[in-house]
Amino acid sequence: MIEFEQVTKTYPGGSVAVEGFSLVVPSHRTVALVGSSGSGKTTLLRMVNRMVEPTSGRVLIDDQDVQDRDPVELRRSIGYVLQAGGLLPHRTVLDNVATVLRLNHVTRQAARARAAEMLERVGLDPALGSRYPGQLSGGQQQRVGVARALVPDPNILLMDEPFGAVDPIVRRELQDELARLQTELGKTIVFVTHDVDEAFRLGDEVVVLRERAAIAQQGTPSDILAAPADEFVHDFVGAGRAERVLHTQTIGGRLVAVDGTGLPVGVLES
């Protein structure tokens, strides 16, 4: 369980990235933080692994203040998928994935074996293991980033727009794969995105953020879609968007769901 307690972060120079943020992320659940650029999402994530220190307030993991943990040990215990890959360009894909195991003194051979297994689990050809990150496509690099975070089997996974740099089709593929992995692994995931559909698809719970990480609404995807708290959330999640507003038509004796543009999107079964 991760708890943010009245967390505020003011960066040197006075820019307030996060103000009075409180949230509980229950164990084995995925909480998706969604908000526009600059709303403080990355700052929130980085306060969990002490890459950023809060100006005030506390972040707790299983009731322990992260401030009381050794930062290096803390980071090794948390899987972190960075916003822009963050792979080491001079290490092969396999060694990138094995990095944290090696830092934890797992032997090279054992670390590589587990890394190779993980590559397969995230849907990468193990033959790619001997390449360098610069020789991979954006989508492949993202998968390597996910594999690197997963391989030490951390309880907590921080994911910062992990699928940001790929086209919509690959993005959808990666989302499905993460969802599948999560049903197997049951990690505590904080997932940051500015894509509402992605947040709805992956989050057990979704937190919509305004500037300074002010919580506009928090709830399950259906809660939020059914009853947006205010105008901001309504617009942000696109509750009024034509493709979100469905109605039914009876065609050939069957109920067909049609969206606001008149496009049939599916058949209703009773």
Binding site: V72, Y80, G86, L88, L103, Y132, G134
Partner: protein, 221 residues
């Protein structure tokens, strides 16, 4: 050619002496300049003046330096130690700025990512900073190597044997073949070491060749 065919064992001996002076000096230059360069990168306020001062060392003329060193360190005037210290001074002067640049050129995002996944400060240095700075560092070391091999010949003027001895001796005794041999042997030695370093770079930094140039960014050698 006849001169060489008669004297080649002597030339080989001098070449060995030449290497015994230059290789330790090159290694010492690296061992000193890399930490200083890294310090300059980490603390630019101290680093700027430090780099300026270090580079100025290169402006000290060789002969006075060879006299000052024994006076300061108490080493014998005509000794390998004096020579190696002098060569190291020049090597460091040449290398510090490149070393600082090499660390500056390491992508901050990559460094930050390494910290974020749990590298300790020491691990960041050895496993991230140093290997990523390596290609630029190596280019600096190649310059130092060639320069050092050339500078060693000056030692002959104070009586420290090296291939430079062929030059002084050849001039004094008017044997052009000896002078020519000295020049060519020195150049060959420099080329040989430079080639070895080039090869080391290829083997030790395979990612630099493997990397596909990223779209829209300049390709660096």
């Amino acid at each position: 050619m006849t001169w060489l065919s008669l004297n080649w064992p002597h030339v080989i001996d001098l070449a060995r002496a030449h290497l015994l002076l230059s290789v330790p000096a090159i290694l010492l230059s690296v061992v000193i300049a890399v930490p200083v360069g890294r310090l300059a990168y980490r603390h630019p306020r101290v680093g700027g003046p430090l780099l300026g001062a270090a580079s100025l060392l290169y402006a000290i003329p060789a002969l006075p330096l060879l006299i000052v060193i024994p006076a300061l360190l108490g080493t014998p005037l005509r000794s390998a130690t004096t020579m190696i210290v002098a060569l190291t001074v020049y090597g460091v002067a040449l290398l510090v700025r490149t070393a600082a640049d090499a660390f500056t050129a390491v992508d901050d995002h990559t460094r930050g990512a390494a910290v974020a996944v749990g590298h300790s400060p020491l691990a960041v240095f050895w496993q991230v900073d140093l290997p990523l700075a390596f290609p630029v560092l190596l280019s600096g070391v190649r310059v130092v190597t060639v320069s050092t091999i050339g500078l060693v010949t000056i030692g002959a003027l104070i009586g420290v044997s090296s291939l430079g001895t062929l030059l002084t001796d050849g001039f004094q005794r008017s044997i052009p073949a000896e002078v020519t041999t000295g020049v060519i042997a020195t150049v060959l030695l420099a080329l040989l070491l430079d080639g070895l370093l080039l090869l080391t770079g290829r083997v030790a930094a395979p990612w630099t060749r493997a990397a596909r140039p990223a779209r829209g960014t300049a390709v660096t050698a």
